[in-house]
């Protein structure tokens, strides 16, 4: 199904370029970005991580690790996912979120697949990496829900992190299955009805590591743009946790506009190794999703 492949590649590549674009300005305020770059819209690397242009961060890397763990264990195994994340952590990645590090440290110490519910776990780390679960469970609502929560809880055990992960995941599923913008908005409204703090209208002017700020920023960018580029640029130039809002904005917009929506100049600069891993994962994840595997 060529349309599905186009949208799935769009979502995954959109996530990666959003991550790379946003990483240059993570932790900056919107004012600082405007003063330094005007409108930041080119992959230039740099940032507090001193990246090369086109380099991605933990947002994309954890997604790729999750995707490979899913492909290695078709019948789903949360312990293998946690093991794969831990191996990635021990390889000293360019960046690791504090809550992700804490959860993986817990797993490496006592083997548990989830910590107790924790007020400090309402961060972005679980939602930002969930796209491979979405792609591999397209025709199985129950598996989508169960596997999303299990991978999330390895590091984040908080109802807002759960709601953000499932909500943005569901919007992405609707778009990948051929839904248009109106269908995605209906899925958004269902998410906001269940969790009013996610309502992006009006946008309250804050982008941070808090999942509520992130979901609002991403939805605001998605609703007020007519292209993948515009959506990602709008999210990223808000500053704050810009690589994560960029990644999630890229995922949603990619699922809507497809791979052709990704600006060529970003595609050319994106780390070719990352692009190759995405191109190889997408068909295999979709094939798993198509078979309606048992949870």
């Amino acid at each position: 199904d060529a349309v599905l492949m186009e949208k799935a590649l769009g979502a995954y590549v959109g996530l990666a370029v959003g991550d790379a674009l946003g990483a240059s300005v993570e932790f900056m305020t919107a004012g600082e970005i405007a003063a330094l770059h005007g409108v930041h819209k080119d992959l230039r690397g740099g940032g507090w991580l001193r990246l090369n242009s086109g380099e991605v961060t933990d947002d994309t890397q954890m997604s790729l690790v999750l995707g490979e763990a899913i492909l290695a264990n078709p019948a789903w195994d949360t312990r293998r996912v946690a093991g794969a994340f831990s191996l990635w952590l021990q390889g000293r990645p360019v960046d690791v979120g504090n809550t992700c590090r804490r959860g993986l440290r817990r797993f490496m110490t006592d083997g548990t697949l989830s910590g107790p519910p924790n007020e400090g776990d309402a961060g972005n780390g679980a939602a930002m990496r969930n796209l491979p679960v979405v792609l591999s469970t397209l025709h199985d609502d129950e598996a989508f829900r169960q596997r999303s929560l299990e991978q999330a809880h390895i590091t984040h055990n908080h109802r807002l992190s759960d709601a953000g992960t499932l909500g943005l995941g569901e919007m992405t599923r609707v778009l990948l299955k051929g839904g248009d913008l109106a269908a995605a908005v209906r899925a958004m409204e269902a998410m906001v009805a269940a969790e009013p703090s996610f309502n992006p209208r009006p946008w309250r002017g804050c982008s941070s590591g808090y999942i509520v700020d992130t979901v609002r920023t991403v939805l605001d960018a998605f609703l007020n743009s007519d292209s993948l580029e515009e959506c990602v640029v709008r999210a990223v130039n808000r500053g704050g946790d810009a690589d994560t809002t960029g990644a999630l904005a890229g995922q949603l917009a990619g699922a809507l506009y497809g791979l052709r929506g990704v600006p060529v100049r970003w595609l050319r600069k994106l780390d070719p190794v990352v692009l190759d891993r995405i191109r190889r994962q997408v068909p295999a994840l979709l094939a798993q999703g198509g078979r309606g595997m048992p949870p």
Binding site: Q90, T99, R101, N118, G209
Partner: protein, 112 residues
């Protein structure tokens, strides 16, 4: 939450950091100190002449950690820092009433 203070031989710093990172610990604060103990001082050459100083350079690591990984961290530091020769150092465990991440105001285990 506890504060682990480890005083180790300077050449062991990388090895200890490596070992801690294997169990997911990256955050720490390090200070150059002088150690006095059973291991006596050393001889230095300064402007051509030899003289002894009575201390030995050591490195002090301070690591705030959650209660449930205290013994794991202690074990990891001992394994990486031990040479078996005098002067390997000490580990102190002190209680922490509170830890705060200045950037985000997070407190408690979420701040480490």
């Amino acid at each position: 939450m506890k504060l682990i203070t480890a005083i180790i031989k300077p050449f062991k710093l990388e090895e200890v950091k490596e070992a801690l990172s294997e169990i997911g610990i990256e955050g720490m604060t390090v200070t150059e100190v002088k150690g006095f103990g059973r291991q006596k001082g050393h001889t230095e050459i300064y402007r051509g002449s030899e003289y002894t100083v009575d201390f030995l350079p050591k490195v002090k690591l301070e690591i705030a950690i959650a209660d449930d990984i205290v013994s794991k961290v202690i074990e990891t530091i001992i394994k990486a820092a031990k040479t078996g020769k005098i002067g390997d150092g000490k580990i102190f465990v002190t209680p922490l009433d509170e830890v705060i991440r200045i950037r985000t105001d997070e407190r408690g285990d979420s701040a480490i």
